[in-house]
Every structure is written in structure tokens, then in C-alpha cells.
């Protein structure tokens, strides 16, 4: 047995040294390599999962936003139609009022003009009568004067 161990160079001190060497390697690799790489893999998995979750949330939010935008546009359309309709009604009422007022004013103007025409005619008549009377008197005077002369 001793010869066998000697032939292969088996030495318990070297055995322990190699075991310690492997211990150092496993410890260093665990600390410098395995731990950071596994942590990086876990972190990336976490980031990807979060990204997928965020995308799903964003998609849901986008769908919600679309619905809300559609509802708002519909409400705005209804409001606009109501405002236009109200404005049209108000315009029609104003138009009617203005027309009535204009008609009333036209009637008043016409009546005023008629009254004035009547007054002018009456005055002309009165002046004509006065002139005729004066001319008649004048003619009578001439006739009388001619007769008595």
C-alpha cells in the first residue's frame, strides 16, 4: 500500500493543500462570479416582468383613455349642438322682434306722413280760399269802380 501511495506521489499534505485550493476556488467563484451573475439574471427577470406588467397597464390605460376621449367628444358634440340650437332659437326670436318693431315703426312713419299731407292740403285749401276771396273782392271792387265811374 505504501509503495502504491509512493508510486503515485500521494501525500496527505498535498491532498489537504489541493482540497484547500478547491475550497478557495469555490469560495472566490461564488463571491465574484456565481452570486453577481445569478443576481443579474434575477434582476433582468424582474425588469422584464415589470416591463410586461407596465405594458399591460399602459395598454389598459390607453384603452380607458380612448373610451374617455370618445365619451368626452360625444359630450362635446351634444353640448355644441345644444348651443347652436339655442343660438338659432335666440336669433329667430330676435329676428321676429326686430321685424315687428320695424313694421310698427313703418306704420307710424306712414301715419305721420299722411297726417302731414292732410295738414298741407288743408292749409293749401285754406290759403286758396283766402286768395279766391281776395281776388273776388278785388274783382268786385273793379266792377263797382267801373260801374260807378
Amino acid at each position: 500500500m505504501q509503495q502504491l501511495l509512493s508510486a503515485f506521489g500521494i501525500d496527505w499534505r498535498l491532498l489537504i493543500a489541493q482540497a484547500v485550493n478547491f475550497g478557495v476556488v469555490i469560495g472566490a467563484l461564488w463571491y465574484f462570479l456565481y452570486k453577481p451573475v445569478l443576481a443579474m439574471l434575477a434582476k433582468r427577470q424582474e425588469v422584464i416582468a415589470k416591463g410586461v406588467e407596465d405594458a399591460a397597464h399602459a395598454q389598459a390605460a390607453l384603452a380607458g383613455a380612448d373610451t374617455e376621449a370618445s365619451a368626452r367628444v360625444a359630450a362635446a358634440d351634444t353640448e355644441a349642438e345644444r348651443i347652436v340650437s339655442a343660438a338659432r332659437e335666440a336669433g329667430d326670436a330676435e329676428k321676429t322682434r326686430l321685424l315687428k318693431e320695424a313694421e310698427a315703426r313703418a306704420v307710424a312713419v306712414a301715419k305721420d306722413a299722411e297726417d302731414r299731407a292732410k295738414e298741407v292740403a288743408a292749409r293749401a285749401k285754406r290759403e286758396s280760399e283766402k286768395e279766391i276771396t281776395r281776388l273776388a273782392i278785388l274783382a268786385a271792387e273793379k266792377l263797382l269802380k267801373k260801374h260807378y265811374d
Binding site: 506521489g9 500521494i10 476556488v25 469555490i26 467563484l29 465574484f32
Partner: protein, 248 residues
């Protein structure tokens, strides 16, 4: 080559520090450690959420290995617990084996008297290295088995007094379990050492042509042996934590 082929079964001692022998395999082990730890240190610091090609490759390997271990052990928690051990066994052996034919390994050395002492020798061609790893693997497997199943249930796998056949099967299992220490260490040692000898022989008989393809093949063998050692450790852990037959 004038002196013929010289094959040395054990790692050569370069010197000693306070009576502790420093062999060329030990020096090479430290070099491999330095490479691995250096890479891990700089790589670990350069990680980013948007990975580079190298980081993507490493992450792909990690995820693949973890997924496979989870499938074998049927537990994500156990896979994460044993991942550092299995991955380190693979990396340590693989890097050591892949450096086997690098310039300088086995060719740079000291001339002591008339003998040439290479400064670097592949650690897996030193039984101290492979046996140390085998022992670590063996004790991890046994301790995991006992911790998971409990001492008596685990021992019950090997000591079965219910029937003569059960007793014999238990005994065979116990011996084969102990045999793992030898199979683990000698499989790795034998494969890599034999590869080196084969390249040495090829270099002696047909230099310039034969060694290069053989070196490529041996590098492949080195990778496979690292994989075999790591995978067997994983499978034996699975066997150790599996309930014995008839326990349900």
C-alpha cells in the same frame, strides 16, 4: 528525445517551504486558480443589464446548467445550493485540462543535476489533485444524503437485514459507493495522464504531424472528463437524496 521517453507517474517536487512539498502540479493549480479567480473578479465587476456577447454566453451557460440541475434534482432550491460545487468542479478541471498543451506547460523547467524538472504540470495528472476533488465530491454526496434522509434511513440503504438478497445488494451498494472515491480520482487521472503519454509517444515516433491532432483530441477529452466528473457528482447527489426502495 535522445534520452528516450521519460514518463513520471507522480508530480515532481520543485522544492519545499517549511517542510511543505511544492510540486509542479501544485504550482500549476495555483496558476489555474489565479486565472479562474482573476476572470471571475473582472467579469463579475463588468456585468450590466444590457449584456455583452461574453456575458450573454456566460449567462446562457449558467441558465442552462441551472435548468438541467433543477431537472435532475427535481428541486430549484437544491439546484441553486449545489450549483457552485458542480460548476466549480467543472470549471476547475476543464481549465486545468485545457491548459495541458499550452506552450510552457511541461516544457519550461529547471535542470536539476541531469534531470529536467518541468515547472508546470497539469494538476489532473497528479493523483493528489484528483483524489482531493474525489474526496470533496464523496463527502458532499454522503453528507447531503444523511442530511436529507436522516442518518438511519440513509444507512438503511446499505444495511438491509430484511432478506439475504437485500443484505447482499446493500453490501454491494456500500462497496460501490466507497469505490466512487477510486473511480472518480483514477478515471480523471488516468484519462489525462494517458493522453499526455500518448502525445509524448506520438511526438517521439512521428513528430510534426501526429502530436497536433492528438493534442486537439486530448483537449476535447479534457473537456469531457471535466463534464463527467461534474455530472457524476450531480447524479450521485440525486441518488443520495432519493428515498430507498420500499420506504414509501
Amino acid at each position: 528525445m535522445q534520452g528516450g521517453i521519460s514518463v513520471v507517474l507522480k508530480a515532481e517536487q520543485l522544492g519545499s517551504v517549511f517542510g511543505f512539498p511544492i510540486t509542479n502540479a501544485l504550482v500549476m493549480t495555483w496558476a489555474v486558480m489565479l486565472l479562474l479567480i482573476g476572470f471571475a473578479f473582472f467579469f463579475g465587476r463588468s456585468l450590466s443589464l444590457v449584456p455583452t456577447k461574453l456575458q450573454s454566453a456566460v449567462e446562457w451557460a449558467f441558465e442552462g446548467a441551472l435548468a438541467y440541475m433543477t431537472e435532475v434534482l427535481e428541486s430549484k432550491k437544491l439546484a441553486r445550493r449545489f450549483f457552485p460545487l458542480v460548476a466549480s468542479i467543472f470549471l476547475f478541471i476543464a481549465i486545468a485540462n485545457e491548459l495541458e498543451f499550452f506552450p510552457g506547460v511541461g516544457s519550461f523547467g529547471l535542470v536539476h543535476a541531469t534531470n529536467f524538472l518541468p515547472l508546470l504540470r497539469t494538476p489532473t495528472t497528479d493523483l493528489n489533485f484528483t483524489l482531493a476533488l474525489a474526496m470533496i465530491s464523496f463527502f458532499t454526496i454522503e453528507i447531503t444524503g444523511i442530511a436529507t434522509l436522516g442518518f438511519f434511513k440513509y444507512v438503511g440503504k446499505y444495511v438491509n437485514l430484511k432478506s439475504p438478497i437485500g443484505f447482499v445488494v446493500g453490501l454491494i451498494e456500500f462497496i460501490s459507493n466507497l469505490g466512487r472515491l477510486i473511480s472518480f480520482s483514477f478515471r480523471l487521472f488516468g484519462n489525462i495522464f494517458a493522453g499526455e503519454v500518448m502525445v509524448l509517444v506520438a511526438d517521439y515516433f512521428l513528430p510534426y504531424f501526429l502530436p497536433a491532432p492528438l493534442m486537439g483530441f486530448e483537449m476535447f477529452i479534457g473537456f469531457v472528463q471535466a463534464l463527467v466528473f461534474a455530472m457524476l457528482t450531480l447524479f450521485f447527489i440525486k441518488l443520495a437524496i432519493t428515498e430507498p426502495h420500499g420506504a414509501h
